[in-house]
């Protein structure tokens, strides 16, 4: 199963519908919605946090949050 935490740098995925409840409200409000395109831009030196671009927003989130958000490799 792929999550945001398993993406490689530069790789793109799409937030799956099933992880809706796992996405914290704040992250949802910042644009991390089911169906949104998410790209892993950079990983911090100690492998955490992750720097992502989702729905046009550039955000840094912790790995534990990223690991809960399931992604699909192709648009749906």
């Amino acid at each position: 199963m792929s999550t945001i935490a398993t993406l490689r740098i530069g790789e793109v995925g799409y937030v799956s519908e099933e992880s809706l409840d796992a996405i914290p409200l704040k992250l949802l409000e910042m644009g991390c919605l089911p169906g949104a395109e998410v790209q892993l831009i950079q990983v911090a030196p100690l492998k955490d946090p992750l720097y992502i671009c989702v729905n046009g927003s550039h955000l840094a989130i912790r790995k534990e949050t990223a690991a809960k958000i399931i992604i699909l490799k192709s648009e749906y």
Partner: protein, 703 residues
């Protein structure tokens, strides 16, 4: 403020140029006040909308949504919640970044649903062409059913349009919801919710429910009905998620026809800079290099103005003493109030320089990268990446540092940061270290280039940081506070800092330090002056007795005055206090004179030097450091017959000042921020005990 003024609340996501717009609208007509009941700074400014109309503009903290996750953000909700009070805004001005319009409109849609007249200002439109963005403005206005203005706050374009839109919007005073959540999620649920109170819009009731926050005007019955809904929290959470998705669907629908972005125009300056600033080697190297530059500047640039302030106040004191009639009031002025004000103003240069750097780092967008780099490391010690900023600020003064913790959303992480910040070496410790180092550390070079005295100072700074981090680790393991640690931070685009914004930020922060901490330091200086210049009933005979005792010694009148001052201090309340605590501090290598200095240092640490200067009867009209130093050097320990300030005593004192919580101003701020005396007391006693035992060990091992 006149009745005719329009109250405008300025609101927007962070990094949208909200501050730039606020500065353009209000210029220098700004002031910082407090929100009633809560002690968060409230930034207000007056803007001349037309020849007859003014607006009072409140700059609310940047937020991504009305649903707050930190103290800063909760202010926004509080302000928007109130209806028909002095605080409630007439018009809301929402600022949005043209590049992130979709996300910015989420906040706008929430505000619009509150049914308050709203103006939308889309900022940074000068970037549109470069970024390949086009907007159908008239269609967007119609779709959003609101005034929409394109502006470029930094270039001062569109500001007049914003002003006239505020007036139009205020006159029209009609507002309708944008999304209308009632029929889309669970019609039944929301229809019943709406029926609870006719005085509030559905969205307001829904917010009361989700935020568990009820205005006072709500009747008891209405509140109970709302509280009943909270029995099913999971349903509320689920509906909040659904609400957000629904809002984005609506926004997407609107933007589809009105907004287009040509992705091929995207530049990759951001990714190039990011690859340096967040690099696993260069990222840290650059950060530590930057810290070095900041510290160097704080000390190099500040020396001259600090000396100037110091000298000026010494002259004012002299002037007051020699020109005002002798008496208690003159003494109070010359020995209490004037040095007290000087003691506050002396910190301004360092604090202003520090804020200058922090403002620049935040304006450019670099600060988010630091937070990103440091989060994992900080988390191991129970803090989070955002705690880096308070720890850096702490090197100037703990007070602004503690206020900078407000952006940390987890209460436990914020509390730990507040508790450990006073360990960082603030500028008040510097004069103490400086004089002690010059007394006990030889002015020599090791390895031919490293100045030994400088090295010791550096080690003391390192000691402060390391203790802060170790203390955080211990607190993290011992504090049993359940607090969700959730972390998300936006990585904004890199920008050149705006001179105007940086200038205003530095002025505002410095002002709030002077007015906040300054009051406390000044008041304490006066209290200490009183305790040092008054004593029990026999105190008044001291002067006469001293003159009698020394009458045969052919002292010059100046020397005699110094002797009197010294004997007076010994017999004052504070002298008695010093003698009382002598048995306790003797194992640390201190006598009652140092004891007095320890007590007076409670107001502010740097008072140590001045107090010793008085005790060792250096006339206060000669504030020459070398003289104080010489006096301290020649002071003899009565028990051993050797120098009082020898190596063990000096080290023991420095360790004491590194750890002890000798700053009542900081304690007062911690009380204010944590809303209880529990934490400042824990700080006072915890740090005090640590200081006592560390100094004890230092002295006993070294001597």
């Amino acid at each position: 403020m006149s009745k005719n003024d329009i109250k405008v609340a300025l609101i927007g996501n962070p990094n949208t140029g909200k501050t730039s717009l606020f500065n353009q609208l209000t210029g220098l007509n700004q002031k910082v006040g407090n929100y009633p009941g809560i002690t968060v700074d409230k930034k207000e400014g007056i803007s001349k909308l037309s020849s007859t109309r003014n607006a009072v503009i409140t700059d609310l903290p940047g937020t991504y949504s009305i649903n707050p996750t930190s103290l800063d953000e909760s202010i926004v909700l509080k302000t928007l919640f109130t209806k028909n009070t002095k605080e409630s805004p007439d018009v809301i001005l929402v600022v949005a970044d043209v590049e992130n319009l979709k996300r910015n409109l989420l906040l706008f849609s929430q505000i619009k649903d509150l049914e308050i007249p709203t103006v939308l200002a889309i900022n940074m439109v000068d970037q549109m062409e470069k970024k390949g963005i086009t907007i159908d403005l008239s269609l967007l206005k119609r779709e959003l059913n609101t005034e929409v203005i394109l502006i470029s706050a930094r270039k001062n374009a569109g500001i007049d349009d914003v002003k006239s839109a505020i007036i139009r919007c205020h006159v029209a005073a009609k507002a309708s919801p944008l999304c209308g959540i009632d029929h889309k999620i669970d019609p039944d649920y929301f229809t019943r919710l709406k029926e609870i109170s006719p005085n509030y819009s559905l969205y307001q009731l829904w917010l009361m429910l989700t935020q568990n926050n009820y205005p006072e005007q709500l009747t008891k019955e209405e509140k109970e009905k709302l509280l009943a809904y909270r029995n099913n929290i999971s349903k509320i959470n689920k509906y909040q998620h659904k609400e957000t998705i629904y809002r984005y669907q609506q926004i997407n629908k609107i933007l589809k026809n009105t907004y287009s972005l040509d992705k091929s125009k995207a530049t990759d300056l951001r990714s190039k800079l990011d690859s340096i600033f967040t690099h696993k080697v260069f990222g840290y190297l650059f950060f530590f290099f930057l810290l070095l530059v900041i510290f160097q500047s704080i000390f190099d640039w500040a020396t001259l103005p600090m000396d100037l302030i110091d000298g000026t106040f010494a002259e004012i004191t002299d002037f007051a003493k020699s020109n005002l009639p002798k008496g208690v009031l003159t003494d109070l002025l010359a020995d209490g109030i004037i040095p007290g004000i000087g003691g506050v103003l002396i910190f301004i240069p360092q604090i202003a320089i520090l804020f200058l750097f922090i403002a620049i780092l935040e304006e450019t967008g670099y600060m988010s990268r630091v937070v990103f780099l440091m989060d994992k490391i900080m988390r191991r010690f129970g803090m989070n990446g955002k705690g880096v900023i308070p720890l850096i600020s702490g090197t100037a003064c703990a007070i602004p540092a503690i206020m900078a913790t407000r952006t940390i959303s987890s209460w436990k992480e914020r509390l730990i940061t507040i508790l450990v910040v006073p360990f960082t070496t603030c500028s008040a410790r510097l004069p103490v270290y400086a004089i002690l180092i010059s007394l006990i550390i030889p002015d020599e070079k090791i390895f031919g280039f490293l100045n030994l005295q400088g090295l010791v100072l550096l080690l003391l700074y390192a000691l402060g940081f390391i203790t802060a981090i170790v203390a955080a680790y211990v607190l993290n393991k011992t504090l049993k506070i359940k607090s969700k640690s959730f972390f998300v931070i936006e990585m904004p685009n890199y920008k050149l800092p705006s001179v105007k914004n940086v200038f205003f930020e530095v002025v505002e922060k410095t002002k709030s330090f002077v007015l906040g901490a300054g009051k406390i330091i000044l008041a304490l200086s006066v209290v200490l002056w009183f305790l040092a210049s008054n004593g029990p009933s026999s105190f008044n005979d001291v002067e006469k007795n001293t003159i009698d005792n020394f009458v045969n010694q052919n002292l010059s009148s100046e020397e005699l005055q110094q002797k009197i001052a010294s004997v007076k201090l010994e017999n004052s309340y504070i002298g008695i206090l010093g003698k009382t605590i002598e048995p306790v501090i003797r194992p640390l290598g201190y006598d009652w004179k140092i004891g007095i200095a320890l007590i007076t240092s409670l107001a502010a640490r740097e008072v140590f030097v001045g107090t010793l200067a008085t005790i060792y009867s250096v006339g206060s009209d000669d504030e020459n450091t070398s003289t104080i130093k010489e006096k301290m050097r020649s002071e003899v320990n009565q028990d051993t017959g050797r120098k009082r300030f020898n190596f063990p005593v000096g080290m023991s004192l420095m360790v004491f000042y590194a750890f002890a919580m000798q700053c009542l101003a900081t304690l007062a701020i911690v009380k204010r921020e944590t809303k209880t005396w529990k934490w400042p007391l824990i700080q006072l006693f915890g740090m005090g005990l640590l200081a006592y035992f560390s100094s004890f060990l230092t002295y006993q091992i070294l001597s």
